[in-house]
Structure formats: C-alpha cells, structure tokens
C-alpha cells in the first residue's frame, strides 16, 4: 500500500501555518478566531490572521490530549454533555496546554451558526474570557435552500461585519480586495473538489480517511495562496495514483460512504480496521462540506451570503438524505456509515430516519455507530468493531 507523499507535506504545512500565526501575532498582526463556517474571506481581506479552534480541538483529540483538556472545562462546572470540541478548546484556554506550543489569543472572534447553535455559546464564553469583541453572523436554518430574504439578511450582516472588522484594527474591506480573496478561496475549493471526486475511481486512490486529515488547509488556510499551491500538488499526486490504478486500501472489495465528523480518538485504529476488511471509504459529508457553488468574486458579499447559508448543516434531514444518496450513486458505494456523534446534535439527531430513507432510495446498506468526535470517554473501539464488522461482511468484504 503506497502512502501519500502529501502526508509529510501536510505536517510541514500545518507547522508553517502555526509559525506564521505566532510570528504574525508577535509583529502586531491582528488575530481572528473563527468557526469553520464563518466568512473567513472577510477577515483575511482585512489583514487578520485566522485561527480555528475546531481544527485545534481535532488535533488535540488525535494526539490523545482531549480527555485531560475536557476535564479542565468540566471542573469549571460545564456539563460533560456539552460539545467535546468546546470542552477541549476551553480546557486549552484555561491550562495553556496545546500541541501547537502555545495558543495565540484572539483580538476578535467571528462566529456563524450555520454549523450549529453551540458555537454561539462556546464563543460567548471565549469572548468573555479574553475580553474581546464577538462578531456574529446569523444564518437562518432552512430545509433545503436559503430564501431570497435569507440571503438579503445575511448579506446585510456581512457588510456590517466587514465594517466592524475594519474598525477593530483591520484594513478597509473593499469589494475589490474581498473579491480577490474570494477568488483564491474558489481556486482552492475547486482543486479540493477535484481531489475528492477522484475517489469515484475503482479502486479509490484517495479515501475519506485521507480526506479527514488533508482537509485541514481548506478549513484553516482557505483564501490564501499557500492553500491553492497545497491542493494543486495534492490533486496532481492523486491524479498520478488514479492513472496508475493505485488503491488507497489494499485489494478494495467494498465501497462505503460516511456521514458526520471523524472519530478522532480512534482515527488510526478505525482506518486500519477498514483496511483490514478491504473497505474503501469513498466519500463523506464532512470533508465535502466546503463547496464551490455560488462563489463569485465579482459580487463577493452576495456570493458569500449564498455560500454560508447553503452549508449542509444548515439544512434539514431531507437535504441530508439527498446528499448521501447522491454520494452513494456517484461513488458507486454499496453501504453507508452514519456516525451518531454524541457531541454534535445538529449533525446527528435523526440519523435513524436518514438511514431508512437512504436505503430505500439507493438500495445501499446502512449502519449507525455511536461515538464522539473528540472525547475518548464516549468512544469504545470494541463497540465500533462489533457494529462495523458484520456490516462489512454484509457487503461481501471479509478480513
């Protein structure tokens, strides 16, 4: 099984991004903490350096630090039933412990509730701890598509946010400057989409396990030139692999689609389990959440308003069923896995109905597994194995 050369480059890219952030802070560049669904293009256009606590929490979980950090937050009286990304992030804020050396504090925080309602509260707590302004983008939840008045409402807020960000120490965000950043986002997103699409090849040269890690730059460096160059190299390498018929999983026997965030505490073990059973995870709703539709550099505020209201988590169950079903068809999958992620109500509640609907629509076999994206105390690898192995065997894949 040939490893991706890009894996090494990912490590150095992340490291450089961290160094860049720390250096920037030291020379007085303002820092913005942002959620993964925030219009980062605006803070970039204003000259802020963005930092993503969600990404940071995922890294902490993958490095085995999350339980310790979560306990710090719980000791302050926050319930263990709250989102584990929140508990890990605040634990890192309280203790100062992070795999990135040290946390760079924010000068401003930008939050959008298009991924969930938890972030409103998480970043209120954070804004109070650091005593910094909180800018909030309210993206109304809708069943399948934003209405015109939704887009108008969001656009109005975006213009206001751009003015605020300038007032709080940034450069003026002109449509021209913003358009340039939007164009860079679009270029990177198109390359990322190409990479993800190539998993439709048989065998898949790149799986969601690869995507879960290689998505880091699209989340935390989107809008920069470094991001475009990263994905161009990745796209070229995956293209090579596809041409050569290289399979990400040895002797691919079954293809499966995934819904929800990765299970970071047992990420490596889970990847090995899929490989052991020759199952390729060919597509997922999480890494493909950053889409290219609507991004128009010519009308940046309107297009950002459309993009950020059209995130998969901002739509209802029917839309989710459509997305998963179309993934199953497009990537020629025989089965799908729904990760019932205890930390994420917005992503997880109602998956039982989704399972039935997708099976009915596509004939594919579904399985629900219970775990958590970052809290190892809510993850049992034994349980995951007990659910997945019979599921794999149903698909004709044996270990």
């Amino acid at each position: 099984m040939i490893k991706l050369r890009a894996n090494k480059r990912l490590q150095s890219t992340i490291r450089n991004q961290v160094l860049w952030t720390r250096f920037g802070a030291r020379i007085g560049r303002p820092i913005a903490w942002v959620t993964s669904g925030s219009p980062v293009e605006i803070v970039l256009a204003a000259g802020f350096i963005p930092f993503y606590p969600e990404n940071h929490a995922a890294i902490c979980a993958a490095r085995g630090m999350s339980q310790d950090l979560a306990e710090q937050t719980e000791a302050e009286g926050y319930s263990r039933d709250l989102c584990s990304y929140f508990r890990v992030d605040v634990g890192s804020q309280i203790s100062g412990r992070t795999p990135l050396g040290h946390l760079v504090p924010p000068d401003v925080i930008l939050v959008s509730n298009n991924i969930c309602g938890t972030v409103q509260n998480w970043f209120r707590v954070t804004a109070e701890r650091f005593n910094v302004p909180l800018l909030f983008l309210d993206t109304p939840f809708n069943d399948a598509a934003p209405t015109e008045s939704d887009v108008a409402y969001v656009r109005e807020q975006l213009v206001h946010i751009a003015a605020e960000v300038t007032r709080l120490g940034g450069r003026r965000v002109t449509e021209d400057r913003l358009g340039k950043v939007v164009l860079r986002s679009r270029d990177a997103l198109e390359l990322w989409a190409e990479v993800l699409a190539m998993a439709a090849e048989r065998p898949a040269p790149f799986t969601s396990f690869d995507a879960f890690v290689h998505m880091a730059p699209i989340v935390s460096m989107r809008g920069t030139r470094r991001c475009i160059s990263y994905y161009r190299k990745l796209r070229d390498e995956v293209r090579e692999r596809a041409k050569a018929g290289i399979s990400s999983v040895p002797d691919e026997r079954a293809r499966v689609v995934w819904d929800n965030i990765a299970i970071w505490p047992v990420h490596k073990q889970l990847k090995k389990l899929f490989e052991q059973y020759h199952v390729s995870l060919v597509s997922d709703t999480y890494t493909s959440a950053w889409t290219v539709e609507h991004l128009e550099p010519e009308d940046p505020f309107t297009s950002l308003a459309k993009v950020y209201t059209d995130i998969i988590l901002n739509h209802g169950a029917e839309h989710r069923v459509k997305v998963i079903s179309s993934m199953v068809r497009k990537f020629d999958a025989a089965g799908f896995v729904l990760h019932s992620n205890r930390s994420c109500k917005r992503y997880s509640l109602g998956q039982f109905g989704v399972k039935t609907a997708v099976s009915t629509a596509t004939g594919a076999t579904g399985v629900v597994i219970e775990a958590d994206m970052a809290d190892p105390r809510s993850v049992s690898f034994e349980h995951l194995e007990q659910r997945l192995v019979p599921f794999f065997e149903t698909l004709g894949a044996t270990g």
């Binding site: 306990e71 719980e74 000791a75 105390r377 993850v379 049992s380 349980h383």
Partner: protein, 255 residues
C-alpha cells in the same frame, strides 16, 4: 448522661452509632435489604440504642418514623468529619450507589458535588468489575498490589468498560493489572467530581470502599494529594447524625 443515636439508612447498608456524652460507645452495620424499616429497627437494637433519641440520614431517612429529626447524608457526613478529623478541609466518599466530594469547615458544608446517576465512579462499578474479574472485594489489596502496573481502562461508561475488560481478559491480560486499571478509572471519575468543588488539603476519605488500601492509594494518586482514612470509614455519616442529634436534644436546633 446524654445518650443519642445516629442512623444512616443507605440503600445497601444501614449503619447505627450510639453516643454517650460525646463519645461513640457502640455501632452496628446491617443489610438494608429487603426492608429498610426493619433494618433500621435491627440496627438500633444491635447497637443498644432502643428508646434513645434518634436522628436519621441517608436514602431511607424518612422511613424511620420514630426519629427526632432527619438531615441529608451530606450534612451528616460533614458533621461526622468535623468530629473524627476536625482539620480536614475536603471529604471524598465513595459509596455503593453514589460518590460525593464535600468541602467542609468546622463540621459544616461549604460546597458539595454528588454523582448518583452514573455507576462509573461509585462502588457499583467496582462491584461489576469484581464479578467480571472474579476477584472479591476483600482480595483487592492482595491482587492490586503496589508494584502492579495498571492497564488503562479508558471507557468510563460502565457498560462500555465491561466490554473493554472482557476484551482485555480474552487477550490474556492479567486480572491484577486490569483491576489496577479499574481502580485508576473509578478514582479518576471521583477526582473529576472533586475538581468541581475544589480539592483542598487535608483530604479525608470515607465510605465502605475505603476498607481497601488499594482503593485508598488509587484515590490519592488520582487526586495528587495524600488521603487519610479515619477508623471505621463506613460509620462517619452515622456518627455525624448522632452528633447532630445531641445538639438538637441540647439546644433544640440542629445548627
């Protein structure tokens, strides 16, 4: 001569303490099953406390109708610790069904946290594991000796942890190491509970589980602080109830 009794009616065991002029003179521990009222009477009888004013506490405190008064087991625990270990600032109690951490000062409650929902972090977790590992509670000290290295038992949910332990056993891991890991896990949960109220030294531990030195050591490790266990750790709450009873008899108030 003031003779008073404190009755701690727990869901598994009922404890009685008889005090005479401020000294403990007798005690009794009986099973609460199947009938707590009957258990209460038996405990009082065995203690020689029939006809003496009684203050009750514990889960079944309202069931003994001939009581003078009743208080919560946390209030009673604080009073008991104020008597047996007056310098203590924090008491950690791991009971059969629940665990508590109480910050105390001069026999009064300053702050408290209790876990009565989740079996992990209580004696019940130890009971389940004792069964799965085939190691009875009174053999814990021999099996989970000081020099044994614990194997991590990461699931704190009792159900998940049970499968995890079964998995470890079938992978031929020694029961001694798994048991050590179980103790680390339980005490870790209790330590988390403790951090909610703040762990201030000196720390005292109570409850029947503290009869095992292995448990006490694991607790001390998890808290990162030395833990003292008073003689008769299972009777501290009932002792507190007896003290409060004396105060009530003498002054008419339980303050």
């Amino acid at each position: 001569m003031t003779r008073v009794a404190g009755l701690d009616i727990g869901s598994t065991a009922t404890k009685c303490v008889l005090m005479e002029d401020g000294r403990v003179v007798a005690s009794a521990v009986v099973s609460s099953m199947p009938d707590m009222r009957v258990a209460a009477e038996r405990a009082l009888l065995e203690c020689g406390a029939s006809g003496v004013p009684v203050l009750t506490t514990g889960y079944g405190r309202a069931l003994y109708e001939a009581r003078l008064a009743q208080v919560s087991e946390i209030t009673a625990l604080a009073a008991g610790v104020g008597f047996v270990a007056p310098d203590a600032a924090t008491v950690v109690d791991i009971g059969g069904q629940d665990s508590k951490v109480v910050r105390v000062e001069a026999g009064k409650v300053v702050d408290f946290a209790m876990n009565d929902r989740c079996a992990a972090g209580t004696g019940r977790f130890l009971e389940v594991m004792s069964r799965v590992l085939h190691v009875p509670f009174d053999e814990f000290d021999a099996v989970a000796a000081d020099e044994v290295e614990p194997l991590p038992v990461t699931s704190t949910c009792t159900v998940f942890a049970e499968s995890e332990v079964v998995g470890l056993l079938s992978a031929r891991q020694p029961a001694s190491r798994i048991l050590k890991g179980v103790l680390v896990s339980v005490c870790g949960r209790v330590a988390s509970l403790g951090r909610q109220v703040g762990l201030k030294a000196p720390i005292v531990a109570t409850g029947g589980t503290m009869h095992s030195r292995a448990v006490v050591r694991a607790l001390s490790n998890a808290l990162g602080l030395p833990v003292a266990v008073p003689p008769s750790p299972q009777l501290v709450t009932a002792t507190g109830a007896a003290l409060l009873c004396a105060r009530r008899v003498e002054s008419g108030a339980i303050v």
